[in-house]
């Protein structure tokens, strides 16, 4: 069952993400696992989308395909007009570096590095000058309230602080797409709210497109503007979140600004 993507909120014409008949199958021993099985959908710039589903529904696999961490078995993932299926490994790395920022349930900070070094990593990969790297890193950490924790190691921080550092790292190269895989899964509800508020702020003030994987319907209903439900790798439901308070609508000017920043 395929549901036409909701295009009502598109501020410009082109979708941020367009997925066409996407399949990702794994061979696991004898069995063929259909992690993603014929999904088609479109996500417009500035949208805040929650990918819902039980464990094994294929939501994380879908997110990995959008992130360019994985390649589809068939179908197309077109992000910012480029079909990831046809990109070289090098181009995919560039996609992960510039176009998308990722946060994970387990934070995925490099444990042997300090917070500053962790946040600095994407700038190193982008070959940004040393001096510029340091000031950008400081700004990014200050933005998430960790300016005083720059030389701490991840193990010395709470889960919420680690996830904030991960957010700072995800944003350091100014991507237009934030992909969050269960970002509050390892956090208590209070810190989870804190993180979600940061994500919402990025969506609203920076106009970032957010795709968040979660299995908590309540969380999705509270923050996302659109909820996509997956089951067994198939898209089973895609609808706008009407319960969401009206003032949370994204600011179209911020979306435009985000696009202009990218073109620069």
């Amino acid at each position: 069952m395929t549901i036409n993507p909701d295009q009502s909120n598109s501020p410009n014409g082109a979708p941020a993400i367009r997925i066409v008949d996407l399949c990702r199958h794994y061979q696991m021993g004898e069995a063929l696992i259909r992690a993603v099985d014929g999904v088609s959908l479109q996500i417009q710039p500035g949208e805040f989308v929650a990918l819902l589903g039980s464990s094994g529904s294929g939501k994380s696999s879908l997110l990995n395909l959008i992130a360019g961490l994985d390649r589809p078995t068939s179908g197309a993932v077109i992000v910012e007009g480029r079909d990831l299926a046809h990109l070289s490994r090098e181009e995919l790395a560039k996609h992960r570096l510039r176009t998308v920022g990722m946060v994970f349930q387990s934070f995925n900070l490099v444990s042997r590095m300090t917070l500053a070094e962790n946040v600095e990593l994407p700038l190193r990969f982008a070959e940004v000058d040393r001096g510029q790297r340091q000031s950008l890193t400081r700004q990014a950490l200050e933005r998430v309230g960790l300016g005083a924790r720059m030389t701490h190691r991840p193990s010395e921080l709470s889960g919420g602080e680690q996830q904030r550092a991960a957010l700072a790292r995800a944003l350091i190269n100014h991507p237009r797409l934030l992909l969050a895989d269960e970002p509050t899964g390892n956090l208590d509800s209070h810190t989870g709210t804190e993180i979600m508020n940061f994500i919402r702020e990025f969506n609203q003030s920076l106009g970032m497109t957010i795709v968040m994987v979660t299995h908590e319907r309540a969380l999705a209903e509270r923050y996302a503007r659109r909820m996509i439900l997956l089951a067994d790798g198939k898209l089973v439901d895609d609808r706008p979140n009407n319960d969401r308070p009206h003032e949370d609508q994204p600011n179209p000017a911020a979306v435009t600004a985000s696009r202009q920043r990218e073109r620069r």
Partner: protein, 470 residues
């Protein structure tokens, strides 16, 4: 900038698991150290041998013979000679002419004759030869019991060890001559007197004025200028030294066992075997020499000097051909030492591969994270490459230092042993700068090559798989 950043991150990563990485680096160092130690010993031994051979006069000496000698060392000489009878005599003017050639330090006649020596009323027959003053620094005469000749004409004699044994009536079984220490022989002999009986050649009276031997008290027999007399004489000689080594080893059958100062030997005007042959052709006022030894300034010049002397019309012989094969031997020795050293380095490289592969397993997640946030395959590869290179470079530097130390210790140990054997200290070991540089570069390159596989493996790591592990 980029390279600097990469190296900085690589070094940072290396510091992080310092124990494992330092063990690997030590592994590389040990490899490099054994390479350096072995090669430096090889080079040192080669230098030592060259030094000793140079001291022995083998490398810088050209032996000149008259073509009339007919016993040339080289068959080529025989062929190139138009006519032996027409060729030049190797006499005093010829010697002086040779001495004036460029790069020639000295040319001295080879005076040797078989004669009788009596010691404590017992007569011994042996070959006697004159030794130039420059042989003072020859290996055979440095550090001998006793001393070198006090002057160029002193009636003094140095004995070769085997002759000393004969004088003392000690005849060790063949092959055991070395068992008797030379110092033991020196004690009863030094300062003793030998009486040498010899046949003096006395020229005709008209030339006697310039040629009368200093020591001669005998009357000369007057004849025409184409004649000379042979008179039996005696000369008392004082034993001043005993030599263990054989300075005359090049001469084979004509080896002398008793050495006189050259000037003294010349002045004695002992009848030379060549004199008889010369008499067939008429007599010259000046005696001719059967051979003249030419010392060349530098072994490099030997060939040029040989050519120049050949142009003067004499036969020459030098040991250049022999040294060529000696150098070949050392090249092979170096090669083998190098191979063993390289084997050690190969073992160390396996250590590097192991460490880096382990690092990948340990850092799977980290690599996955880096790739997830935008690190390209190339970056990950370069990072692991840089880590391998840094370990190689560091291991190379430490290894050279270690190899230097090992060589030094071996040298010290050997010298302590030599001292116990009452032998002069020697340097067996030499670390030239090129070896230092080459060893470090070699370690660096080997490490980079060892890093190829782990780096490629890290780069191909699937980030989704890597991040799945918790």
């Amino acid at each position: 900038m980029k390279t600097y950043d990469l190296s900085e991150l690589a070094l940072r990563n290396l510091r992080e698991s310092s124990l494992r990485n330092s063990l690997t680096t030590i592994g590389i160092s040990v490899g490099v150290a054994s390479l350096v130690a072995m090669l430096s010993l090889g080079i040192g031994l080669q230098k030592l041998a060259t030094r000793h051979l140079a001291k022995s006069g083998l490398f810088d000496t050209v032996v000149v013979t008259s073509r009339r000698e007919l016993r040339g060392f080289n068959r080529d000489d025989e062929r190139s000679t138009a006519s032996a009878a027409e060729s030049r005599t190797l006499d005093e003017p010829a010697r002086q002419e040779i001495e004036r050639l460029p790069d020639v330090l000295e040319a001295y006649p080879d005076i040797r004759f078989i004669t009788e020596l009596s010691y404590q009323n017992k007569t011994h027959l042996t070959m006697v030869s004159g030794i130039p003053d420059s042989a003072r620094s020859n290996d055979a005469f440095t550090g001998i019991p006793g001393s070198f000749f006090s002057s160029e004409t002193a009636p003094e004699v140095i004995l070769q060890k085997s002759f000393a044994l004969e004088l003392l009536g000690k005849t060790p079984p063949p092959g055991h001559e070395d068992d008797v220490p030379v110092r033991e022989l020196a004690k009863p002999l030094l300062g003793q007197e030998l009486v040498m009986r010899y046949a003096q050649r006395v020229s005709a009276p008209e030339s006697a004025g310039e040629n009368t031997p200093a020591k001669s008290g005998a009357s000369t027999v007057s004849e025409s200028d184409a004649a000379y007399s042979v008179i039996s004489r005696e000369q008392k000689l004082n034993i001043v030294g005993i030599s263990d080594l054989d300075p005359d080893s090049m001469r084979g059958a004509a080896r002398a066992r008793v050495f006189l100062p050259l000037k003294l030997a010349q002045d004695l005007r002992v009848m030379q075997p060549s004199d008889v042959r010369d008499s067939m052709r008429g007599f010259s006022k000046q005696p001719s020499y059967s051979t003249v030894s030419v010392r060349v300034r530098n072994p490099k010049n030997v060939e040029a000097v040989e050519q120049a002397i050949k142009k003067l019309g004499f036969n020459t012989f030098s040991i250049l051909d022999a040294t060529r094969s000696l150098r070949q031997f050392f090249a092979v020795l170096d090669l083998f030492l190098g191979i063993f050293g390289s084997l050690a380095l190969a073992v160390a490289s396996i250590g590097i591969v192991n460490t880096l592969v382990m690092a990948i397993l340990e850092r799977r997640r980290e690599i996955g994270i880096m790739k997830a946030i935008g690190a390209s395959d190339g970056y990950v590869k370069k990072l692991f490459f840089a880590e391998a290179g840094a370990m190689g470079l560091l291991g190379g530097v430490v290894g050279v230092a270690l190899g230097w130390a090992i060589g030094h210790i071996i040298n010290l140990g050997t010298n302590i042993y030599l001292k116990r054997q009452a032998l002069p200290p020697e340097s067996f070991w030499s670390v030239p700068w090129w070896l230092v540089g080459a060893a470090i570069v070699f370690a660096f390159i080997v490490s980079l090559v060892s890093g190829l596989y782990p780096a490629a493996r890290a780069a191909r790591l699937d980030p989704v798989q890597a991040l799945r592990y918790e």
